[in-house]
């Protein structure tokens, strides 16, 4: 008897589901309410074509999509806003274009105030911010901070001295990207320190740039450096000049300068692409001491091979703090290192967890 009831039940559920198609529309969480998620499954009725339409606040139906997939998902992001009722209608057709079934779903879209998918990013940001700010404050209170030697920076005095001795200029290039890249800003910071030193030792500095905004900023930086060195009269406004925005056009021009002016020292500090090696090799052939620094992983090999000193990745950003020796600058470096330590520990724990088959940490940190 039980068996018969069970079979009966099974038969009816099959009947029920075979007629039915699954169609649901939901608000997408963690967004600004400008999209809805559609899901459908009409595989039971062997639909050949699915058409979905939408009505906004009961208005005229508009076409959303047509597909031959009987199961699927779709994100509708066309003119969706909050506070409007969206009613979707799905129509399934067979191969003769006859309607097999229809389904409806009504929903509202919502906007969220916090994106929970980015929780791990927020936590990591806070770790970095807190550790850096903490060490800046503790450095201000007079705590002595150690910082290891950065080999690439030893060249600065040597280069300036050599330029003075030989009576030749120093060439500085703050990369080939604009102010919307941090490497350029780091390069300009170092330009300030170098220009001050050059002003003190009465060496000339030439700075060709390939972006107009970098031109403005670099001019300010160099002018200020001469002022700080107490020699504002020695500042030549035309020592910072623009060539062209074009990557290789710029390189052609700089190559010409290197060959004709024969600078005693070249500094390439900033963001570089393929031009890195052309500059460094031409600089080598002119006999200059060369210092390079970039965070572009693809260009570092060329600088390492062709230059005398190279600031690798993070060293470029640490350089200005290192040279300034100001406590709060050094404090921020220390904070950065603490953040680094936390991340390395997290990495080791993550690997151990992965080995033991627990994927929690990796999944939590993965940001989509």
């Amino acid at each position: 008897m039980k068996k018969i009831i069970f079979l009966f039940f099974l038969f009816f559920t099959c009947l029920l589901f075979s007629e039915d198609i699954l169609f649901e529309v939901n608000d997408i969480p963690n967004d600004d309410g400008s999209a809805l998620q559609l899901r459908w499954n009409a595989s039971n009725i062997s639909a050949e074509k699915i058409v979905i339409e939408r009505k906004d606040n009961g208005g005229k139906p508009t076409f959303v999509l047509e597909t031959d997939k009987s199961t699927g998902e779709f994100v509708d992001g066309t003119e969706i806003s909050t506070g409007i009722e969206y009613s979707y209608k799905l129509t399934a057709y067979n191969e003769n274009n006859e309607i097999l079934a229809t389904a409806n779903s009504v929903t509202f879209s919502k906007a969220q105030w916090f994106n929970f998918k980015k929780l791990s990013l927020l936590i990591m940001s806070l770790i970095m911010i807190i550790s850096i700010v903490y060490y800046i404050y503790s450095a201000r209170s007079g705590k002595e901070l150690y910082i290891r030697k950065i080999a690439g920076l030893e060249s600065m005095d040597e280069s300036v001295g050599r330029a003075t001795e030989m009576g030749r200029p120093i060439l500085f290039i703050p990369g080939t990207l604009d102010l919307d890249d941090m490497q350029t800003i780091a390069g300009l910071t170092l330009l300030g320190r170098l220009a001050q030193k050059a002003a003190e030792y009465e060496a000339d500095i030439i700075v060709p740039v390939c972006r107009s905004m970098v031109l403005s900023t670099a001019k300010e930086v160099v002018k200020e450096a001469y002022l700080k060195a107490g020699r504002p009269d020695a500042y030549k406004p035309d020592s910072v000049f623009y060539l062209t925005d074009d990557q290789f056009g710029f390189v052609a021009g700089v190559d010409g300068i290197i060959i004709r002016e024969k600078p005693a020292a070249n500094f390439f500090l900033g963001a570089f692409y393929a031009e890195s090696l052309i500059l460094a090799e031409t600089g080598f052939s002119s006999g200059a001491i060369q210092t390079a620094g970039t965070a572009m992983p693809s260009q570092l090999p060329f600088f390492v091979v062709a230059c005398d000193y190279t600031l690798i990745g993070e060293e470029l950003f640490a350089a200005s703090a290192y040279l300034s020796k100001e406590p709060h600058q050094l404090g921020s470096l220390k904070g950065q290192d603490m953040g680094k330590a936390v991340f390395v520990i997290a990495l080791v724990i993550g690997i151990i967890l992965e080995i033991s088959g627990i994927h929690f940490l990796k999944d939590f940190l993965t940001i989509h």
Partner: protein
């Protein structure tokens, strides 16, 4: 007539190709001319490009078509004009405002972008089980991947002396950096030689017609 100009074009191309190549021998008037033409043409090109492909579609079109919906674009326009006030020495300092805005934006965006893509994503990509793999070569490789990444990051540690066990770890890190530099150099060599091949195919094919292009 069109044919004449297309032949002229190829000859011009070949001429400038040789002018640049001549720099490899030594600096000479041909290179100087090519260099100056390159600088001038490209500066002009980017000027025209900026007008047609940046300012018109991003600023002038939206404002002239529907200023009501795009009034916000007036802000960057005003900031752009502030930038131009550098041309007058007395108002030079005004350009610091747009620069400060851009540097603030860059700092904020880069803070997050690099934390996401270059720090967290690289960390999670390294969180693997190195012993999962069918053959010993893969397992050795994955172990190298994990050890190399960790020791490499430790090399960049600034606030601790590189000595003792810490120094050894940092040293291993440098070794991995060196291997990666060497390999990347060798790998890029291939792509760079392709560029020369492309140039020579132009000279030998399109220009001289010795090889079929």
């Amino acid at each position: 007539m069109e044919h004449f100009f297309s032949v002229l074009g190829i000859w011009l191309g070949a001429l400038f190709t040789f002018a640049i190549f001549s720099f490899l021998y030594k600096d000479n008037p041909f290179y100087k001319v090519a260099e100056q033409i390159f600088v001038g043409l490209s500066a002009g090109y980017w000027f025209v490009y900026t007008i047609f492909f940046i300012l018109i579609p991003n600023l002038f079109d939206p404002i002239s078509q529907d200023i009501g919906a795009n009034w916000i674009k007036l802000f960057p326009a005003a900031l752009g004009i502030m930038m131009l006030m550098r041309l007058i020495p007395k108002t030079e300092w005004v350009s610091r405002f747009p620069i400060a805005l851009i540097i603030g934006t860059t700092s904020g965006i880069f803070f997050l972008r690099y934390l996401k893509s270059d720090v967290i994503n690289q960390l999670t990509a390294t969180m693997i089980n190195p012993f999962a793999g069918s053959d010993p070569v893969t397992i050795i490789g994955q172990l190298m991947l994990v050890i190399g990444t960790i020791t490499g990051v430790i090399y960049f540690y600034f606030s601790k002396k590189h000595e003792g066990a810490f120094g050894v770890t940092a040293k291993i890190g440098i070794y991995f950096l060196m291997i990666s530099f060497g390999a990347a150099f060798g790998y890029t060599a291939m792509a760079r030689i392709s560029l020369l091949i492309g140039r020579l195919q132009f000279l030998l094919g399109d220009w001289l017609g010795i090889i079929s292009p």
